[in-house]
């Protein structure tokens, strides 16, 4: 299968006067429909790498290629609609909109791309809320939910547009191991049913080991890239 996302010779240097290089010559390709995990110590550059993969950040040098197109040549509006259609984000710090209810937050990616929300979409949003175990609190304001509930809402939101790729940064950081297990089973299930590509950053080795591929980042370099053959 073809690569849905490719990173070519990515370097990232923060700062202009005091320069800190965070990523060194990263070359990675992700197969469509694969389930990948990225592990590494705190501060090793995982979030930085994910933001570059999600076209939110730009590398200091090197190319990000999505669907065969180099992103540095795309206009801001093209990137925005690419992100809206093709990527579901779960950020490390969950980032719901506090002015909206949980369900409205879940519907937000659809509303950004469409003028009206058909009933099927609302139903799917409710279904997703049920899948992450939040059907009881879906009309709560985002601020009236626990950290774990907010995180699960963010996962439902990332799934709503049925994107080709989900980028998740510590999506279960606030969850107990039982819920974590349930969520990963859910993500795995979606991966198998819809062929959605997953790239998940996690601290949890046990979780990482459930993925098809484990990439370990150490001090901005790829230290290990383990592909399971199944």
């Amino acid at each position: 299968m073809s690569n849905i996302l490719e990173l070519k010779n990515i370097n990232k240097i923060y700062g202009t006067t005091v320069k800190t290089q965070v990523l060194y010559d990263i070359n990675l390709g992700f197969k469509e429909g694969s389930f990948n995990s990225i592990i590494g110590q705190s501060g090793s550059g995982k979030s930085t790498l994910m933001n570059i993969m999600g076209t939110l950040d730009t590398p200091t040098s090197g190319d990000v290629v999505v669907d065969g197109v180099i992103t540095s040549g795309m206009r801001a509006s093209q990137l925005a609609s690419y992100r809206n259609r093709s990527i579901g984000f779960v950020f490390q710090f969950h980032y719901l909109l506090p002015e909206f209810t949980a369900l409205e937050n879940v519907l937000m990616p659809y509303r950004i791309g469409h003028k009206t929300v058909p009933k099927e979409t609302t139903d799917r949003a409710k279904e997703l809320m049920k899948l992450v175990g939040l059907e009881k609190v879906m009309n709560n304001n985002a601020t009236q939910m626990s950290g774990g509930q907010q995180q699960r809402t963010a996962i439902a939101r990332a799934l709503l547009n049925q994107p080709k790729m989900i980028l998740a940064d510590e999506p279960t950081g606030n969850l107990d191991s039982l819920s974590t297990g349930t969520i990963y089973d859910l993500l795995r299930d979606i991966n198998e049913r819809f062929g959605t590509t997953f790239i998940i950053i996690t601290h949890d080795r046990k979780i990482a080991e459930k993925a098809d591929r484990i990439i370990e980042i150490t001090d901005g370099r790829i230290n290990m890239d383990l592909m399971k053959n199944n």
């Binding site: 933001n51 950040d57 992100r83 809206n84 950020f91 719901l96 950004i112």
Partner: protein, 389 residues
Amino acid sequence: MKLSYQIATRFLKSALTQTLIIILGIGIGVSVQIFIGSLIQGLQKSLVNTTIGNAAHVSVTDDDDGFIEDYEAVIRSAVDADDRIVAASPVLNASVLIEKDGESQSLLIRGFDLQKAEGIYEFSEYLDEGAMPKADGEVLLGVIARDNFELSVGDTISLITPDKRTVECTVSGFFDYKVAAPNESWCITTLPTVQAIFELDDVASAIEFQVDQDLVFEADAVAKNVSAAIASGSDTLVVGEWKEANEQLLSGLQGQSISSIMIQVFVMISVVLGIASVLAITVMQKSRQIGILKAMGIRNGSSSLIFLFQGLILGIFGAIAGVLLGLGLSFAFTTFALNPDGTPVVPLYIDPAFIALSAAIAVVACVVASLIPARKSSVLNPIDIIRNQ
């Protein structure tokens, strides 16, 4: 569009106190604008009214012998020449002495075509007592003359002409123009009465014209048209108008208008600056949300639209609050700031068009003020938000 609008309303609702304070701020600005505007306009109207309320806007006199013989023809051609003229009457003015019980006083006797002159002087409006002269030989006097000579309706008075003839007239009523000069010394009657007293033919000493209420400031243009229209008939006729006789008043009014506009402009500027800075702070407060929305793919245009909508919404509610406050203030002013006789100290002029304009300016100003935060929102880079958690 719809999403931007909904996000805008949610943002405003989520900081309701702040929103209400901004609306109040805009409202106070607009209300001050409306109040000052209405006050100045009312002041000017009442000044202009006292000046020309009982005087003709445009008049034609004869430079040669002081008499106009074919006044009907002059009226016709003048009225045809300018449709801003709403009333016209010949008048024959002369001086007489009124004498009673050895006391005497000079009067300006003014003979009109009473029906036509009603359009200029509104006699019946200012009639204090009695009735309009119905037959020749009947006159109206002012209330001050009435008190001075202890007269009542139906009395006969003796008028002495400059050539020492005495003529008797009947007082049919008294008028009160609320201004001393006419109340003391005008004697209003029909044109034939004055012609008879002075043994004149069918002549007038002047023709007086009234211009449409809302166009009194165009009296000079009307005078020019009238002048051109009657030039062919005679070259001794001269046209005058109220503005040239009241230049000082006019420049005073103009100064007043300019300072009123200045006040309004500065009030608006301070409102705009206030809103712009508050909205700019809102962008900072909401930068997290804008960042998430942008990461999820909202366009820069839509993200700036959020703040334009906020400006629009604040502007509309602010304008409504301002109109209500302004009208309330005006109402309070005209109800509580009264002269001893119960009339308002300054009669405000509530002009719906002016109020609508003030409200519209406020709304536009608020949208303009939101351009800066809209721009900020547009250039906000989501990575700055995502990275700095």
